[in-house]
Protein backbone atom coordinates (compact mmCIF):
# COMPACT_ATOMS: atom_id res chain seq x y z
CA UNK A 1 0.00 0.00 0.00
CA UNK A 2 2.75 2.38 0.99
CA UNK A 3 4.58 1.48 -2.19
CA UNK A 4 1.57 2.41 -4.31
CA UNK A 5 1.42 5.81 -2.61
CA UNK A 6 5.10 6.51 -3.22
CA UNK A 7 4.78 5.45 -6.84
CA UNK A 8 1.86 7.76 -7.37
CA UNK A 9 3.91 10.62 -5.96
CA UNK A 10 7.12 9.58 -7.68
CA UNK A 11 5.88 10.31 -11.19
CA UNK A 12 8.20 8.31 -13.42
CA UNK A 13 9.75 4.95 -12.67
CA UNK A 14 13.20 6.24 -11.64
CA UNK A 15 11.78 8.58 -9.03
CA UNK A 16 9.55 5.81 -7.75
CA UNK A 17 12.63 3.66 -7.21
CA UNK A 18 14.38 6.45 -5.30
CA UNK A 19 11.26 7.17 -3.29
CA UNK A 20 11.23 3.53 -2.33
CA UNK A 21 13.89 3.93 0.39
CA UNK A 22 11.30 2.79 2.85
CA UNK A 23 12.14 0.08 5.27
CA UNK A 24 10.60 -1.12 8.52
CA UNK A 25 11.47 1.08 11.52
CA UNK A 26 12.61 -2.12 13.21
CA UNK A 27 15.77 -2.28 11.06
CA UNK A 28 16.84 1.21 12.17
CA UNK A 29 16.21 0.46 15.83
CA UNK A 30 18.27 -2.74 15.66
CA UNK A 31 21.17 -0.98 13.93
CA UNK A 32 20.91 1.85 16.45
CA UNK A 33 21.18 -0.65 19.32
CA UNK A 34 24.04 -2.42 17.58
CA UNK A 35 25.97 0.86 17.20
CA UNK A 36 25.49 1.52 20.91
CA UNK A 37 26.82 -1.90 21.81
CA UNK A 38 29.80 -1.61 19.44
CA UNK A 39 30.64 1.87 20.78
CA UNK A 40 30.48 0.56 24.33
CA UNK A 41 32.80 -2.30 23.36
CA UNK A 42 35.35 0.05 21.81
CA UNK A 43 35.17 2.28 24.90
CA UNK A 44 35.73 -0.74 27.14
CA UNK A 45 38.88 -1.57 25.15
CA UNK A 46 40.30 1.68 26.50
CA UNK A 47 38.69 1.43 29.93
CA UNK A 48 40.26 -1.95 30.65
CA UNK A 49 43.54 -0.78 29.05
CA UNK A 50 43.83 -3.69 26.65
CA UNK A 51 47.20 -3.21 24.96
CA UNK A 52 49.24 -4.50 22.05
CA UNK A 53 47.99 -6.30 18.95
CA UNK A 54 44.70 -7.15 20.65
CA UNK A 55 43.96 -3.44 21.15
CA UNK A 56 44.54 -2.45 17.51
CA UNK A 57 42.60 -5.47 16.25
CA UNK A 58 39.57 -4.76 18.44
CA UNK A 59 39.57 -1.01 17.74
CA UNK A 60 39.78 -1.53 13.96
CA UNK A 61 37.19 -4.31 14.05
CA UNK A 62 34.60 -2.29 15.99
CA UNK A 63 35.34 0.80 13.87
CA UNK A 64 34.83 -1.02 10.57
CA UNK A 65 31.65 -2.72 11.80
CA UNK A 66 30.18 0.61 12.93
CA UNK A 67 31.18 2.37 9.71
CA UNK A 68 29.77 -0.50 7.66
CA UNK A 69 26.40 -0.46 9.38
CA UNK A 70 26.09 3.33 9.15
CA UNK A 71 26.91 3.36 5.43
CA UNK A 72 24.93 0.24 4.50
CA UNK A 73 21.73 0.78 6.53
CA UNK A 74 21.48 4.38 7.72
CA UNK A 75 22.78 5.80 4.44
CA UNK A 76 20.82 3.19 2.45
CA UNK A 77 23.80 2.10 0.34
CA UNK A 78 22.80 -1.56 0.73
CA UNK A 79 19.65 -0.80 -1.27
CA UNK A 80 21.21 1.38 -3.98
CA UNK A 81 22.01 0.18 -7.48
CA UNK A 82 25.50 -1.17 -8.09
CA UNK A 83 26.42 1.79 -10.33
CA UNK A 84 25.99 4.21 -7.40
CA UNK A 85 27.62 1.81 -4.93
CA UNK A 86 30.75 1.68 -7.08
CA UNK A 87 30.94 5.48 -7.36
CA UNK A 88 30.73 5.74 -3.57
CA UNK A 89 32.96 2.86 -2.53
CA UNK A 90 35.68 2.49 -5.18
CA UNK A 91 37.39 5.96 -5.18
CA UNK A 92 38.22 5.82 -1.43
CA UNK A 93 40.36 2.75 -2.18
CA UNK A 94 42.90 5.20 -3.66
CA UNK A 95 43.23 6.58 -0.14
CA UNK A 96 44.69 3.26 1.01
CA UNK A 97 47.65 3.96 -1.29
CA UNK A 98 48.09 7.39 0.30
CA UNK A 99 47.94 5.90 3.80
CA UNK A 100 50.51 3.22 2.91
CA UNK A 101 52.86 5.79 1.34
CA UNK A 102 52.58 8.18 4.29
CA UNK A 103 53.19 5.38 6.79
CA UNK A 104 56.43 4.47 4.97
CA UNK A 105 57.35 8.16 4.71
CA UNK A 106 56.66 8.70 8.44
CA UNK A 107 58.88 5.77 9.34
CA UNK A 108 61.67 7.16 7.16
CA UNK A 109 61.37 10.63 8.76
CA UNK A 110 61.45 9.05 12.21
CA UNK A 111 64.63 7.10 11.46
CA UNK A 112 66.26 10.16 9.89
CA UNK A 113 65.47 12.17 13.00
CA UNK A 114 66.88 9.44 15.23
CA UNK A 115 70.06 9.27 13.15
CA UNK A 116 70.69 12.98 12.76
CA UNK A 117 68.81 15.12 15.26
CA UNK A 118 68.30 13.24 18.51
CA UNK A 119 71.16 12.91 20.93
Amino acid sequence: MDHAVTQAHGGHAAAAHADGQQHPIRIYLWIWLLLFVLSTFSYLVDYFQIQGVMRWTLIILFMLLKAGFIVAIFMHVAWERLALKLVILVPPLALLVLIALMAIEGDYTFLTRLASFVR
Binding site: D2, T6, H9, G10, A13, A14, A15, H17, A18, D19, Q21, Q22, I25, Y28, L29, I31, W32, L35, F36, S39, S42, Y43, V45, D46, Y47, Q49, R55, I59, I60, F62, M63, A67, I70, V71, I73, F74, M75, H76, R81, L82, A83, L84, L86, V87, I88, P91, P92, L95, L98, I99, M102, A103, E105, G106, D107, T109, F110, R113, F117, V118
Partner: protein, 231 residues
Protein backbone atom coordinates in the same frame (compact mmCIF):
# COMPACT_ATOMS: atom_id res chain seq x y z
CA UNK B 1 14.81 -19.85 -33.04
CA UNK B 2 12.96 -20.52 -29.85
CA UNK B 3 16.28 -21.07 -28.14
CA UNK B 4 17.56 -17.63 -29.19
CA UNK B 5 14.39 -16.04 -27.91
CA UNK B 6 14.91 -17.66 -24.53
CA UNK B 7 18.55 -16.54 -24.48
CA UNK B 8 17.59 -12.92 -25.21
CA UNK B 9 15.04 -13.09 -22.45
CA UNK B 10 17.64 -14.47 -20.07
CA UNK B 11 20.18 -11.77 -20.82
CA UNK B 12 17.46 -9.15 -20.42
CA UNK B 13 16.54 -10.42 -16.99
CA UNK B 14 20.17 -10.70 -15.88
CA UNK B 15 20.52 -6.99 -16.75
CA UNK B 16 18.78 -6.37 -13.45
CA UNK B 17 21.73 -7.26 -11.23
CA UNK B 18 25.51 -7.28 -11.01
CA UNK B 19 27.95 -5.57 -13.32
CA UNK B 20 25.49 -5.79 -16.20
CA UNK B 21 23.27 -3.35 -14.33
CA UNK B 22 26.21 -0.93 -14.15
CA UNK B 23 26.81 -1.27 -17.88
CA UNK B 24 23.11 -0.75 -18.51
CA UNK B 25 22.92 2.32 -16.25
CA UNK B 26 25.89 3.94 -17.97
CA UNK B 27 25.03 3.08 -21.58
CA UNK B 28 21.37 3.75 -22.10
CA UNK B 29 21.51 7.42 -23.07
CA UNK B 30 19.79 8.47 -19.87
CA UNK B 31 20.93 9.70 -16.47
CA UNK B 32 23.41 7.20 -15.03
CA UNK B 33 22.06 7.20 -11.48
CA UNK B 34 18.33 6.70 -11.11
CA UNK B 35 18.21 8.77 -7.92
CA UNK B 36 17.15 12.39 -7.35
CA UNK B 37 19.93 14.73 -8.49
CA UNK B 38 20.22 16.21 -4.99
CA UNK B 39 21.06 12.80 -3.61
CA UNK B 40 23.63 12.05 -6.33
CA UNK B 41 25.28 15.43 -5.74
CA UNK B 42 25.30 14.93 -1.96
CA UNK B 43 27.10 11.63 -2.49
CA UNK B 44 29.68 13.32 -4.72
CA UNK B 45 30.19 15.98 -2.05
CA UNK B 46 30.51 13.38 0.71
CA UNK B 47 33.04 11.52 -1.43
CA UNK B 48 35.17 14.68 -1.66
CA UNK B 49 34.73 15.21 2.09
CA UNK B 50 35.95 11.66 2.66
CA UNK B 51 39.16 12.60 0.89
CA UNK B 52 39.56 15.76 3.01
CA UNK B 53 39.07 13.97 6.32
CA UNK B 54 41.30 11.10 5.25
CA UNK B 55 44.03 13.62 4.37
CA UNK B 56 43.74 15.06 7.90
CA UNK B 57 43.81 11.66 9.54
CA UNK B 58 46.68 10.53 7.32
CA UNK B 59 48.75 13.61 8.14
CA UNK B 60 48.01 12.94 11.82
CA UNK B 61 49.24 9.36 11.34
CA UNK B 62 52.35 10.66 9.60
CA UNK B 63 53.33 13.16 12.31
CA UNK B 64 52.59 10.65 15.04
CA UNK B 65 54.84 8.03 13.42
CA UNK B 66 57.64 10.50 12.68
CA UNK B 67 57.86 12.39 16.00
CA UNK B 68 60.67 11.44 18.36
CA UNK B 69 58.86 12.93 21.38
CA UNK B 70 56.42 10.78 23.33
CA UNK B 71 52.81 11.13 22.19
CA UNK B 72 50.50 12.31 25.03
CA UNK B 73 48.26 9.46 26.22
CA UNK B 74 44.74 10.41 25.03
CA UNK B 75 43.23 8.14 27.66
CA UNK B 76 44.73 10.37 30.38
CA UNK B 77 44.51 13.72 28.57
CA UNK B 78 40.77 13.31 27.96
CA UNK B 79 39.95 11.78 31.34
CA UNK B 80 37.19 13.40 33.32
CA UNK B 81 37.31 13.69 37.09
CA UNK B 82 34.05 12.44 38.58
CA UNK B 83 33.78 12.25 42.37
CA UNK B 84 37.55 12.20 42.88
CA UNK B 85 38.17 9.48 40.27
CA UNK B 86 39.67 10.00 36.83
CA UNK B 87 37.47 8.16 34.36
CA UNK B 88 39.27 7.81 31.02
CA UNK B 89 37.67 9.30 27.92
CA UNK B 90 34.33 9.78 29.69
CA UNK B 91 33.33 12.95 27.86
CA UNK B 92 34.37 11.47 24.50
CA UNK B 93 32.29 8.36 25.20
CA UNK B 94 29.25 10.51 26.00
CA UNK B 95 29.83 12.57 22.82
CA UNK B 96 30.04 9.34 20.79
CA UNK B 97 26.77 8.06 22.24
CA UNK B 98 25.07 11.41 21.58
CA UNK B 99 26.17 11.40 17.94
CA UNK B 100 24.98 7.81 17.47
CA UNK B 101 21.64 8.67 19.06
CA UNK B 102 21.30 11.63 16.71
CA UNK B 103 22.05 9.34 13.77
CA UNK B 104 19.27 7.04 14.94
CA UNK B 105 16.73 9.86 15.23
CA UNK B 106 17.79 11.10 11.78
CA UNK B 107 17.30 7.66 10.20
CA UNK B 108 13.80 7.54 11.71
CA UNK B 109 13.10 11.06 10.46
CA UNK B 110 13.93 9.98 6.90
CA UNK B 111 11.66 6.97 7.34
CA UNK B 112 8.73 9.05 8.60
CA UNK B 113 9.41 11.55 5.80
CA UNK B 114 8.77 8.89 3.20
CA UNK B 115 5.61 7.96 5.09
CA UNK B 116 4.62 11.64 4.78
CA UNK B 117 4.26 11.97 8.53
CA UNK B 118 5.00 15.68 8.73
CA UNK B 119 4.87 16.13 12.51
CA UNK B 120 7.04 13.17 13.43
CA UNK B 121 9.59 13.92 10.69
CA UNK B 122 10.01 17.52 11.87
CA UNK B 123 10.11 16.52 15.56
CA UNK B 124 12.78 13.87 14.96
CA UNK B 125 14.83 16.29 12.85
CA UNK B 126 14.68 18.98 15.54
CA UNK B 127 15.70 16.32 18.07
CA UNK B 128 18.65 15.42 15.82
CA UNK B 129 19.66 19.09 15.57
CA UNK B 130 19.36 19.51 19.36
CA UNK B 131 21.59 16.47 19.95
CA UNK B 132 24.06 17.89 17.44
CA UNK B 133 24.03 21.19 19.30
CA UNK B 134 24.75 19.45 22.61
CA UNK B 135 27.64 17.67 20.88
CA UNK B 136 29.12 21.00 19.79
CA UNK B 137 28.59 22.34 23.33
CA UNK B 138 30.53 19.43 24.80
CA UNK B 139 33.25 19.94 22.26
CA UNK B 140 33.51 23.61 23.27
CA UNK B 141 33.84 22.42 26.88
CA UNK B 142 36.52 19.91 25.86
CA UNK B 143 38.47 22.54 23.92
CA UNK B 144 38.38 25.09 26.75
CA UNK B 145 39.45 22.45 29.28
CA UNK B 146 42.34 21.45 27.03
CA UNK B 147 43.42 25.02 26.28
CA UNK B 148 42.92 26.60 29.71
CA UNK B 149 43.62 23.75 32.14
CA UNK B 150 46.05 21.52 30.25
CA UNK B 151 47.83 24.23 28.28
CA UNK B 152 47.51 22.52 24.90
CA UNK B 153 48.32 24.78 21.96
CA UNK B 154 48.57 24.04 18.23
CA UNK B 155 52.34 24.53 18.53
CA UNK B 156 53.00 22.67 21.76
CA UNK B 157 51.80 21.18 25.02
CA UNK B 158 53.30 20.19 28.37
CA UNK B 159 52.60 16.45 27.89
CA UNK B 160 54.81 15.64 24.92
CA UNK B 161 54.87 15.89 21.13
CA UNK B 162 53.79 19.35 19.91
CA UNK B 163 52.05 17.72 16.92
CA UNK B 164 49.38 16.47 19.31
CA UNK B 165 47.82 19.93 19.59
CA UNK B 166 47.91 20.79 15.89
CA UNK B 167 46.39 17.43 14.88
CA UNK B 168 43.75 17.64 17.59
CA UNK B 169 42.56 21.17 16.84
CA UNK B 170 42.65 20.61 13.08
CA UNK B 171 40.73 17.32 13.06
CA UNK B 172 38.16 17.91 15.79
CA UNK B 173 37.78 21.55 14.73
CA UNK B 174 36.96 20.60 11.17
CA UNK B 175 34.58 17.90 12.37
CA UNK B 176 32.93 20.32 14.81
CA UNK B 177 32.44 22.77 11.94
CA UNK B 178 30.67 20.03 10.02
CA UNK B 179 28.40 19.33 12.99
CA UNK B 180 27.62 23.03 13.40
CA UNK B 181 26.84 23.33 9.68
CA UNK B 182 24.70 20.20 9.95
CA UNK B 183 22.69 21.64 12.85
CA UNK B 184 21.88 24.73 10.77
CA UNK B 185 21.13 22.63 7.67
CA UNK B 186 18.84 20.24 9.58
CA UNK B 187 17.03 23.11 11.30
CA UNK B 188 16.25 24.75 7.96
CA UNK B 189 14.99 21.52 6.40
CA UNK B 190 13.00 20.65 9.56
CA UNK B 191 11.33 24.07 9.48
CA UNK B 192 10.38 23.46 5.85
CA UNK B 193 9.01 20.02 6.73
CA UNK B 194 6.85 21.59 9.41
CA UNK B 195 5.54 24.27 7.05
CA UNK B 196 4.39 21.61 4.58
CA UNK B 197 6.91 22.73 1.95
CA UNK B 198 7.75 19.14 0.94
CA UNK B 199 4.09 18.12 0.84
CA UNK B 200 3.52 20.85 -1.75
CA UNK B 201 6.70 19.82 -3.56
CA UNK B 202 5.41 16.25 -3.60
CA UNK B 203 8.57 14.59 -2.31
CA UNK B 204 10.49 14.27 0.95
CA UNK B 205 13.78 13.34 -0.73
CA UNK B 206 15.45 16.50 0.68
CA UNK B 207 15.07 14.96 4.15
CA UNK B 208 16.97 11.87 3.00
CA UNK B 209 19.70 14.03 1.43
CA UNK B 210 20.08 15.99 4.69
CA UNK B 211 20.14 12.63 6.48
CA UNK B 212 23.04 11.44 4.30
CA UNK B 213 25.06 14.48 5.38
CA UNK B 214 24.27 13.89 9.05
CA UNK B 215 25.13 10.18 8.94
CA UNK B 216 28.41 11.10 7.26
CA UNK B 217 29.28 13.43 10.16
CA UNK B 218 28.63 10.49 12.50
CA UNK B 219 30.70 8.23 10.23
CA UNK B 220 33.70 10.58 10.38
CA UNK B 221 33.43 10.63 14.18
CA UNK B 222 33.67 6.81 14.23
CA UNK B 223 37.09 7.09 12.58
CA UNK B 224 38.24 10.05 14.71
CA UNK B 225 37.15 8.18 17.86
CA UNK B 226 39.11 5.08 16.85
CA UNK B 227 42.25 6.72 15.52
CA UNK B 228 42.67 9.82 17.64
CA UNK B 229 41.14 8.95 21.00
CA UNK B 230 41.59 5.18 21.28
CA UNK B 231 44.86 4.64 19.37
Amino acid sequence: MAETAIKVEESASSLEGGLRSVAADWSQDKQAFPVPWGKAMMWIFLLSDTFIFTCFLTSYMNVRISTTDTWPNPSEVFALNVGGHDIPLLLIAIMTMILITSSGTMAMAVNFGYRRDRGRTAALMFATAALGLSFVGMQAFEWSKLILDEGVRPWGNPMGAPQFGSSFFMITGFHGMHVTGGVIYLSIVAKRVLSGFYDRKGTYETVEVAGLYWHFVDLVWVFIFAFFYLW
